[in-house]
Symmetry: C2
Subunit: 205 residues, 2 copies
Protein backbone atom coordinates (compact mmCIF):
# COMPACT_ATOMS: atom_id res chain seq x y z
CA UNK A 1 0.00 0.00 0.00
CA UNK A 2 1.44 3.40 -0.85
CA UNK A 3 2.29 5.76 1.97
CA UNK A 4 -0.95 7.38 2.96
CA UNK A 5 -2.02 10.96 3.23
CA UNK A 6 -3.90 11.75 6.44
CA UNK A 7 -7.58 12.49 5.93
CA UNK A 8 -7.57 15.15 8.62
CA UNK A 9 -4.94 16.97 10.62
CA UNK A 10 -5.86 16.74 14.29
CA UNK A 11 -5.78 19.65 16.69
CA UNK A 12 -3.58 17.83 19.19
CA UNK A 13 -0.70 20.28 19.52
CA UNK A 14 1.75 17.80 17.97
CA UNK A 15 3.98 18.41 14.98
CA UNK A 16 3.69 16.13 11.96
CA UNK A 17 6.99 14.56 12.96
CA UNK A 18 5.78 13.92 16.50
CA UNK A 19 2.63 12.29 15.19
CA UNK A 20 4.56 10.28 12.65
CA UNK A 21 6.87 8.92 15.29
CA UNK A 22 4.11 8.14 17.75
CA UNK A 23 4.34 4.57 18.99
CA UNK A 24 1.57 2.33 17.68
CA UNK A 25 -0.70 0.10 19.74
CA UNK A 26 -2.24 -2.38 17.31
CA UNK A 27 -4.91 -5.02 17.81
CA UNK A 28 -5.65 -7.87 15.38
CA UNK A 29 -8.91 -9.51 16.36
CA UNK A 30 -11.88 -11.36 14.83
CA UNK A 31 -12.58 -15.01 14.02
CA UNK A 32 -10.67 -15.10 10.72
CA UNK A 33 -7.16 -16.23 9.89
CA UNK A 34 -4.16 -13.96 9.74
CA UNK A 35 -4.29 -12.17 13.09
CA UNK A 36 -1.00 -13.56 14.37
CA UNK A 37 0.44 -14.08 10.92
CA UNK A 38 0.03 -10.39 10.09
CA UNK A 39 1.64 -9.50 13.43
CA UNK A 40 4.66 -11.65 12.58
CA UNK A 41 4.76 -10.06 9.12
CA UNK A 42 4.91 -6.68 10.86
CA UNK A 43 7.71 -8.05 13.03
CA UNK A 44 9.68 -8.76 9.83
CA UNK A 45 9.25 -5.13 8.82
CA UNK A 46 10.27 -3.96 12.28
CA UNK A 47 13.33 -6.23 12.12
CA UNK A 48 14.28 -4.66 8.79
CA UNK A 49 13.97 -1.20 10.34
CA UNK A 50 16.57 -2.27 12.92
CA UNK A 51 14.08 -2.49 15.78
CA UNK A 52 14.55 -4.77 18.77
CA UNK A 53 11.70 -7.28 18.35
CA UNK A 54 10.24 -9.34 21.20
CA UNK A 55 7.46 -11.91 20.84
CA UNK A 56 5.50 -13.18 23.84
CA UNK A 57 3.24 -16.14 23.15
CA UNK A 58 0.31 -16.60 25.47
CA UNK A 59 -1.91 -19.70 25.45
CA UNK A 60 -0.12 -23.03 25.32
CA UNK A 61 -0.47 -25.04 22.16
CA UNK A 62 0.98 -28.28 20.87
CA UNK A 63 2.13 -26.59 17.69
CA UNK A 64 2.93 -23.07 18.93
CA UNK A 65 4.08 -21.14 15.87
CA UNK A 66 7.21 -23.03 14.98
CA UNK A 67 7.40 -21.67 11.44
CA UNK A 68 7.30 -18.03 12.41
CA UNK A 69 9.50 -18.64 15.44
CA UNK A 70 12.19 -20.39 13.42
CA UNK A 71 12.10 -17.75 10.69
CA UNK A 72 12.21 -14.79 13.07
CA UNK A 73 14.95 -16.40 15.15
CA UNK A 74 16.90 -16.92 11.91
CA UNK A 75 16.53 -13.19 11.22
CA UNK A 76 17.75 -12.47 14.75
CA UNK A 77 20.77 -14.64 13.98
CA UNK A 78 21.35 -12.69 10.75
CA UNK A 79 21.44 -9.57 12.91
CA UNK A 80 24.00 -11.10 15.26
CA UNK A 81 26.28 -12.28 12.45
CA UNK A 82 25.97 -9.45 9.91
CA UNK A 83 24.52 -6.48 11.78
CA UNK A 84 21.55 -6.30 9.40
CA UNK A 85 18.11 -5.74 10.91
CA UNK A 86 17.56 -5.90 14.64
CA UNK A 87 17.69 -8.45 17.47
CA UNK A 88 14.81 -10.89 18.00
CA UNK A 89 13.64 -12.45 21.27
CA UNK A 90 10.91 -15.07 21.54
CA UNK A 91 9.22 -16.18 24.75
CA UNK A 92 6.65 -18.92 25.22
CA UNK A 93 4.30 -18.96 28.15
CA UNK A 94 5.11 -21.21 31.11
CA UNK A 95 8.48 -22.87 30.94
CA UNK A 96 9.35 -20.52 28.11
CA UNK A 97 9.18 -17.50 30.39
CA UNK A 98 12.91 -17.84 30.67
CA UNK A 99 13.34 -14.96 33.10
CA UNK A 100 11.59 -17.02 35.82
CA UNK A 101 13.84 -18.73 38.35
CA UNK A 102 13.55 -22.50 38.54
CA UNK A 103 11.70 -22.31 41.84
CA UNK A 104 9.24 -19.79 40.39
CA UNK A 105 7.73 -22.52 38.23
CA UNK A 106 4.21 -21.61 37.26
CA UNK A 107 3.55 -25.27 36.54
CA UNK A 108 0.10 -25.95 35.27
CA UNK A 109 -1.44 -22.77 36.61
CA UNK A 110 -2.07 -21.07 33.28
CA UNK A 111 -3.70 -18.04 34.86
CA UNK A 112 -0.64 -17.41 37.03
CA UNK A 113 1.64 -18.04 34.04
CA UNK A 114 -0.27 -15.44 32.04
CA UNK A 115 -0.01 -12.94 34.89
CA UNK A 116 3.73 -13.62 35.21
CA UNK A 117 4.08 -12.96 31.49
CA UNK A 118 2.23 -9.69 31.69
CA UNK A 119 4.23 -8.54 34.75
CA UNK A 120 7.45 -9.12 32.83
CA UNK A 121 6.13 -7.29 29.76
CA UNK A 122 5.10 -4.35 31.96
CA UNK A 123 8.59 -4.27 33.46
CA UNK A 124 10.21 -4.34 30.02
CA UNK A 125 7.92 -1.57 28.78
CA UNK A 126 8.85 0.58 31.78
CA UNK A 127 12.54 0.01 31.06
CA UNK A 128 12.11 0.34 27.27
CA UNK A 129 13.88 -2.95 26.63
CA UNK A 130 12.43 -3.50 23.15
CA UNK A 131 11.07 -1.45 20.24
CA UNK A 132 8.43 -3.81 18.84
CA UNK A 133 6.40 -6.20 20.99
CA UNK A 134 4.06 -8.93 19.75
CA UNK A 135 1.71 -10.12 22.50
CA UNK A 136 0.38 -13.15 20.66
CA UNK A 137 -3.06 -14.40 21.75
CA UNK A 138 -2.95 -12.07 24.73
CA UNK A 139 -6.67 -11.30 24.33
CA UNK A 140 -7.55 -14.70 25.79
CA UNK A 141 -6.12 -14.22 29.29
CA UNK A 142 -7.77 -10.79 29.21
CA UNK A 143 -11.09 -12.25 28.08
CA UNK A 144 -10.91 -14.98 30.71
CA UNK A 145 -10.23 -12.45 33.47
CA UNK A 146 -6.78 -13.86 34.25
CA UNK A 147 -5.11 -10.51 33.63
CA UNK A 148 -6.81 -7.23 34.49
CA UNK A 149 -7.78 -5.33 31.34
CA UNK A 150 -7.86 -1.91 32.96
CA UNK A 151 -4.36 -2.31 34.34
CA UNK A 152 -3.09 -3.47 30.96
CA UNK A 153 -4.67 -0.53 29.16
CA UNK A 154 -3.31 1.93 31.73
CA UNK A 155 0.20 0.47 31.41
CA UNK A 156 0.05 0.53 27.62
CA UNK A 157 -1.27 4.11 27.51
CA UNK A 158 1.49 5.25 29.84
CA UNK A 159 4.37 3.36 28.27
CA UNK A 160 7.41 5.61 27.80
CA UNK A 161 9.38 6.31 24.64
CA UNK A 162 8.55 4.87 21.27
CA UNK A 163 7.58 1.24 21.81
CA UNK A 164 5.18 -0.41 19.36
CA UNK A 165 2.88 -3.12 20.71
CA UNK A 166 0.73 -5.49 18.63
CA UNK A 167 -1.82 -7.67 20.45
CA UNK A 168 -3.59 -10.56 18.73
CA UNK A 169 -6.51 -12.85 19.45
CA UNK A 170 -10.27 -13.14 19.29
CA UNK A 171 -12.67 -11.18 21.47
CA UNK A 172 -10.41 -8.20 22.15
CA UNK A 173 -11.90 -6.32 25.12
CA UNK A 174 -13.64 -3.04 24.30
CA UNK A 175 -11.29 -0.99 26.50
CA UNK A 176 -8.30 -2.35 24.58
CA UNK A 177 -9.89 -1.55 21.21
CA UNK A 178 -10.68 1.92 22.49
CA UNK A 179 -7.05 2.47 23.50
CA UNK A 180 -5.55 1.12 20.26
CA UNK A 181 -4.34 3.18 17.31
CA UNK A 182 -4.71 0.43 14.74
CA UNK A 183 -7.45 -2.19 14.94
CA UNK A 184 -8.12 -4.76 12.25
CA UNK A 185 -10.77 -7.42 12.41
CA UNK A 186 -10.00 -10.58 10.46
CA UNK A 187 -13.27 -12.04 9.20
CA UNK A 188 -13.51 -15.64 8.03
CA UNK A 189 -15.07 -15.91 4.61
CA UNK A 190 -13.99 -19.47 3.84
CA UNK A 191 -11.55 -21.88 5.43
CA UNK A 192 -10.24 -25.27 4.27
CA UNK A 193 -11.32 -26.88 7.54
CA UNK A 194 -14.92 -26.14 6.52
CA UNK A 195 -14.35 -28.57 3.67
CA UNK A 196 -13.09 -31.28 6.03
CA UNK A 197 -9.39 -30.59 5.59
CA UNK A 198 -6.98 -30.74 8.49
CA UNK A 199 -4.14 -28.29 8.92
CA UNK A 200 -0.87 -28.84 7.10
CA UNK A 201 2.73 -27.91 7.82
CA UNK A 202 3.84 -24.71 6.16
CA UNK A 203 0.27 -23.51 5.83
CA UNK A 204 -1.32 -23.77 9.26
CA UNK A 205 1.86 -23.75 11.36
Amino acid sequence: MPKGVPLTVPDDGLTTRQRRNAPVLGVHTGDGKGKSTAAFGMAMRAWNAGMDVAVFQFVKSAKWRVGEETALRALGEVHVTTGAGGPVSWFKMGSGWSWLRANDSDGDDHAEAARAGWREIARRLAEQEHDFYVLDEFTYPLDWGWVDVDEVVETLRGRPGRQHVIITGRRAPAQLIEAADLVTEMVKVRHPMDAGRKGQKGIEW
Copy 2:
Protein backbone atom coordinates in the same frame (compact mmCIF):
# COMPACT_ATOMS: atom_id res chain seq x y z
CA MET B 1 -4.05 -21.70 16.79
CA PRO B 2 -4.04 -25.40 17.60
CA LYS B 3 -4.33 -27.87 14.78
CA GLY B 4 -8.01 -28.02 13.99
CA VAL B 5 -10.43 -30.84 13.78
CA PRO B 6 -12.62 -30.76 10.67
CA LEU B 7 -16.26 -29.97 11.33
CA THR B 8 -17.42 -32.40 8.69
CA VAL B 9 -15.80 -35.11 6.62
CA PRO B 10 -16.72 -34.52 2.99
CA ASP B 11 -17.89 -37.20 0.64
CA ASP B 12 -15.25 -36.36 -1.98
CA GLY B 13 -13.60 -39.76 -2.38
CA LEU B 14 -10.29 -38.44 -1.00
CA THR B 15 -8.35 -39.90 1.90
CA THR B 16 -7.59 -37.71 4.89
CA ARG B 17 -3.98 -37.56 3.74
CA GLN B 18 -5.00 -36.46 0.26
CA ARG B 19 -7.18 -33.73 1.67
CA ARG B 20 -4.50 -32.67 4.12
CA ASN B 21 -1.96 -32.33 1.37
CA ALA B 22 -4.28 -30.48 -0.99
CA PRO B 23 -2.71 -27.30 -2.27
CA VAL B 24 -4.28 -24.13 -0.88
CA LEU B 25 -5.57 -21.18 -2.88
CA GLY B 26 -5.90 -18.33 -0.41
CA VAL B 27 -7.32 -14.84 -0.82
CA HIS B 28 -6.78 -11.95 1.62
CA THR B 29 -9.14 -9.14 0.75
CA GLY B 30 -11.07 -6.28 2.37
CA ASP B 31 -10.24 -2.66 3.19
CA GLY B 32 -8.32 -3.34 6.40
CA LYS B 33 -4.62 -3.71 7.10
CA GLY B 34 -2.78 -6.99 7.14
CA LYS B 35 -3.74 -8.56 3.80
CA SER B 36 -0.22 -8.58 2.39
CA THR B 37 1.44 -8.70 5.79
CA ALA B 38 -0.36 -11.93 6.66
CA ALA B 39 0.63 -13.37 3.26
CA PHE B 40 4.28 -12.59 3.99
CA GLY B 41 3.88 -14.11 7.44
CA MET B 42 2.59 -17.27 5.73
CA ALA B 43 5.62 -17.10 3.45
CA MET B 44 7.84 -17.27 6.55
CA ARG B 45 6.04 -20.44 7.60
CA ALA B 46 6.38 -21.89 4.11
CA TRP B 47 10.11 -21.01 4.15
CA ASN B 48 10.49 -22.87 7.45
CA ALA B 49 8.76 -25.91 5.94
CA GLY B 50 11.46 -25.93 3.25
CA MET B 51 9.16 -24.72 0.49
CA ASP B 52 10.40 -22.78 -2.54
CA VAL B 53 8.79 -19.36 -2.02
CA ALA B 54 8.15 -16.85 -4.83
CA VAL B 55 6.65 -13.38 -4.38
CA PHE B 56 5.22 -11.43 -7.31
CA GLN B 57 4.36 -7.83 -6.56
CA PHE B 58 1.76 -6.21 -8.77
CA VAL B 59 0.96 -2.48 -8.66
CA LYS B 60 3.92 -0.14 -8.61
CA SER B 61 4.53 1.81 -5.45
CA ALA B 62 7.18 4.21 -4.28
CA LYS B 63 7.71 2.19 -1.12
CA TRP B 64 6.99 -1.34 -2.36
CA ARG B 65 7.39 -3.60 0.67
CA VAL B 66 11.05 -3.14 1.42
CA GLY B 67 10.82 -4.49 4.95
CA GLU B 68 9.24 -7.78 3.99
CA GLU B 69 11.39 -8.08 0.88
CA THR B 70 14.63 -7.56 2.78
CA ALA B 71 13.60 -9.97 5.53
CA LEU B 72 12.43 -12.72 3.17
CA ARG B 73 15.51 -12.29 0.97
CA ALA B 74 17.62 -12.62 4.14
CA LEU B 75 15.84 -15.91 4.87
CA GLY B 76 16.53 -17.02 1.29
CA GLU B 77 20.19 -16.24 1.94
CA VAL B 78 20.07 -18.29 5.16
CA HIS B 79 18.83 -21.17 3.02
CA VAL B 80 21.69 -20.76 0.57
CA THR B 81 24.34 -20.60 3.27
CA THR B 82 23.03 -23.09 5.85
CA GLY B 83 20.46 -25.23 4.05
CA ALA B 84 17.76 -24.24 6.56
CA GLY B 85 14.33 -23.36 5.19
CA GLY B 86 13.75 -22.96 1.47
CA PRO B 87 14.79 -20.66 -1.39
CA VAL B 88 13.09 -17.28 -1.82
CA SER B 89 12.49 -15.35 -5.06
CA TRP B 90 11.03 -11.87 -5.24
CA PHE B 91 9.80 -10.14 -8.40
CA LYS B 92 8.51 -6.60 -8.77
CA MET B 93 6.25 -5.60 -11.63
CA GLY B 94 7.77 -3.83 -14.62
CA SER B 95 11.52 -3.64 -14.58
CA GLY B 96 11.51 -6.15 -11.77
CA TRP B 97 10.06 -8.85 -14.01
CA SER B 98 13.60 -10.03 -14.44
CA TRP B 99 12.73 -12.82 -16.86
CA LEU B 100 11.87 -10.22 -19.53
CA ARG B 101 14.54 -9.56 -22.12
CA ALA B 102 15.76 -5.97 -22.32
CA ASN B 103 13.86 -5.36 -25.56
CA ASP B 104 10.65 -6.70 -23.99
CA SER B 105 10.44 -3.62 -21.79
CA ASP B 106 6.88 -3.05 -20.71
CA GLY B 107 7.76 0.56 -19.98
CA ASP B 108 4.89 2.53 -18.57
CA ASP B 109 2.18 0.24 -19.86
CA HIS B 110 1.06 -1.10 -16.51
CA ALA B 111 -1.70 -3.23 -18.01
CA GLU B 112 0.76 -4.99 -20.27
CA ALA B 113 3.22 -5.35 -17.40
CA ALA B 114 0.52 -7.00 -15.30
CA ARG B 115 -0.34 -9.37 -18.14
CA ALA B 116 3.33 -10.23 -18.62
CA GLY B 117 3.55 -11.01 -14.92
CA TRP B 118 0.53 -13.27 -15.02
CA ARG B 119 1.79 -15.09 -18.13
CA GLU B 120 5.03 -15.85 -16.35
CA ILE B 121 3.24 -17.04 -13.22
CA ALA B 122 1.02 -19.32 -15.34
CA ARG B 123 4.13 -20.74 -16.98
CA ARG B 124 5.80 -21.37 -13.63
CA LEU B 125 2.64 -23.01 -12.25
CA ALA B 126 2.52 -25.31 -15.26
CA GLU B 127 6.16 -26.27 -14.70
CA GLN B 128 5.77 -26.44 -10.90
CA GLU B 129 8.73 -24.12 -10.35
CA HIS B 130 7.76 -23.08 -6.83
CA ASP B 131 5.82 -24.43 -3.85
CA PHE B 132 4.39 -21.25 -2.37
CA TYR B 133 3.39 -18.21 -4.46
CA VAL B 134 2.37 -14.80 -3.14
CA LEU B 135 0.59 -12.74 -5.82
CA ASP B 136 0.65 -9.45 -3.95
CA GLU B 137 -2.06 -6.94 -4.91
CA PHE B 138 -2.98 -9.10 -7.86
CA THR B 139 -6.69 -8.33 -7.33
CA TYR B 140 -6.21 -4.83 -8.77
CA PRO B 141 -5.22 -5.82 -12.33
CA LEU B 142 -8.09 -8.30 -12.15
CA ASP B 143 -10.51 -5.66 -10.90
CA TRP B 144 -9.36 -3.20 -13.56
CA GLY B 145 -9.86 -5.76 -16.32
CA TRP B 146 -6.16 -5.84 -17.25
CA VAL B 147 -5.94 -9.58 -16.67
CA ASP B 148 -8.86 -11.90 -17.44
CA VAL B 149 -10.36 -13.28 -14.24
CA ASP B 150 -11.86 -16.38 -15.83
CA GLU B 151 -8.55 -17.40 -17.34
CA VAL B 152 -6.79 -16.87 -14.03
CA VAL B 153 -9.34 -18.96 -12.16
CA GLU B 154 -9.16 -21.73 -14.74
CA THR B 155 -5.36 -21.78 -14.58
CA LEU B 156 -5.37 -21.81 -10.78
CA ARG B 157 -8.00 -24.57 -10.59
CA GLY B 158 -6.00 -26.69 -13.02
CA ARG B 159 -2.56 -26.13 -11.58
CA PRO B 160 -0.63 -29.39 -11.19
CA GLY B 161 1.01 -30.85 -8.12
CA ARG B 162 0.96 -29.23 -4.75
CA GLN B 163 1.50 -25.52 -5.26
CA HIS B 164 0.04 -23.06 -2.73
CA VAL B 165 -1.04 -19.65 -4.02
CA ILE B 166 -1.99 -16.64 -1.88
CA ILE B 167 -3.55 -13.61 -3.60
CA THR B 168 -3.94 -10.27 -1.83
CA GLY B 169 -5.74 -7.00 -2.46
CA ARG B 170 -9.07 -5.24 -2.15
CA ARG B 171 -12.13 -6.06 -4.22
CA ALA B 172 -11.27 -9.70 -4.97
CA PRO B 173 -13.50 -10.80 -7.88
CA ALA B 174 -16.37 -13.13 -6.97
CA GLN B 175 -15.11 -15.92 -9.24
CA LEU B 176 -11.76 -15.88 -7.44
CA ILE B 177 -13.40 -16.01 -4.01
CA GLU B 178 -15.56 -18.88 -5.23
CA ALA B 179 -12.49 -20.81 -6.37
CA ALA B 180 -10.46 -20.20 -3.21
CA ASP B 181 -10.05 -22.59 -0.28
CA LEU B 182 -9.19 -19.95 2.28
CA VAL B 183 -10.65 -16.45 2.16
CA THR B 184 -10.13 -13.85 4.86
CA GLU B 185 -11.53 -10.34 4.77
CA MET B 186 -9.48 -7.77 6.68
CA VAL B 187 -11.87 -5.15 8.03
CA LYS B 188 -10.61 -1.78 9.18
CA VAL B 189 -11.79 -0.92 12.66
CA ARG B 190 -9.37 1.91 13.38
CA HIS B 191 -6.23 3.16 11.67
CA PRO B 192 -3.63 5.74 12.77
CA MET B 193 -4.13 7.71 9.55
CA ASP B 194 -7.67 8.43 10.72
CA ALA B 195 -6.07 10.41 13.54
CA GLY B 196 -3.93 12.42 11.12
CA ARG B 197 -0.80 10.30 11.40
CA LYS B 198 1.34 9.50 8.42
CA GLY B 199 2.97 6.14 7.87
CA GLN B 200 6.27 5.32 9.55
CA LYS B 201 9.16 3.06 8.69
CA GLY B 202 8.99 -0.34 10.33
CA ILE B 203 5.26 -0.01 10.82
CA GLU B 204 3.74 0.89 7.47
CA TRP B 205 6.53 -0.34 5.22
